[in-house]
Symmetry: C2
Subunit: 197 residues, 2 copies
């Protein structure tokens, strides 16, 4: 009798600004998932778009028309394709900029297509007001590449001027800022895992 290994989930840090608060938000999300007894098992792997540092989209072809990743022209596209192929599902941790998603995130999505197609996604946004507008726009884009998006999308506010200032400067937020939001993160994660076939 054998059991399947737990699914491998890519957790995408969707900000590249320096300083930035994205790694803190991501740490809250992953530790909440890993410490919750009710979360289904999985392994979480960080994918930092700042470290990937992809150039602005420069493939000559239309990604949705490319069925074989060896057809990509650029080495950076093939490497990004291999990375995204590794995971069964994704958690996007994204800031909101001007009521939309960051360019660095849209760029990373638009490079590929079949690598995303059909996979489950969970969206966590953050911002002064939680970033719900960016989350809704991102949900539409993920549906555009035919991902299955978990219904619950935690939107994490900084909550007050002090934390907003710290976030702007990329400093540590006040301890326990999102303690009350853990249940929502776990709920979104359980929805995500239910979508993994």
């Amino acid at each position: 009798m054998s059991t399947n290994p737990p699914p491998s989930i890519g957790v995408i840090l969707c900000s590249s600004r320096q300083p930035r608060v994205c790694p803190q938000v991501t740490a809250f999300v992953t530790s909440t998932i890993e410490s919750s007894a009710s979360s289904p098992p999985s392994t979480l792997h960080l994918i930092d778009l700042a470290a990937w540092n992809l150039p602005l989209f420069n493939e000559p072809g239309i990604p949705s028309q490319i069925k074989d990743p060896s057809d990509y022209t650029h080495e950076h596209t093939r490497a990004w394709s291999v990375e995204v192929q590794k995971y069964s599902a994704f958690i996007f941790v994204t800031p909101q900029y001007n009521w939309g998603y960051p360019a660095v995130l849209k760029n990373a999505i638009d490079y590929l297509y079949i690598e995303w197609h059909g996979k489950p996604a969970m969206v966590v946004s953050y911002g002064g007001h939680g970033g719900t507008k960016a989350a809704e726009q991102l949900k539409q884009v993920l549906q555009g590449v035919r991902m299955k998006v978990a219904e619950t999308m935690p939107a994490l506010e900084f909550g007050g001027r002090e934390n907003l200032g710290r976030a702007t400067r990329g400093e540590e937020l006040q301890v326990g800022t999102w303690d009350g939001r853990k249940g929502e993160v776990v709920k979104a994660y359980e929805e995500l895992m239910a979508l993994v076939v």
Copy 2:
């Protein structure tokens, strides 16, 4: 007795893919405006984001908190700020990628804030189905930087497999593809000009 000079409008080519169809779409829009007797006078200036080739956002500060463009850290940001300051209003000619706007466009918007603030904008989208989803997302972002967006947003379809293939390859579209859409472009432009104070 003096008259004001006609307002100067920036027409932004929002695609950087090579090959691309954006210059053709833009030429249709500008020639339609310039040849319409009912259009209020203005001067149209092309701004090609592919030529600008801005790196992915790398300013340390939050643009909405910067009140003096000399506070930008990078020379490319200061140059882009000077360019956007030149114009009274903007026409965005944008493709739709995966049900959203292109990264190169969001990147160019997010670099600045006060340079956009309060100015009128007109959106023209294009794509296999016209790109209405990208136009709606872009409208929200432009409202996020507090621009005044013209209500009419022409969404130009390629209309058929032959044209879609040509568009993919960046070739000339069939003659007269959007002849029936000129009235809509002129209407959007008139709305834009009504918003210029």
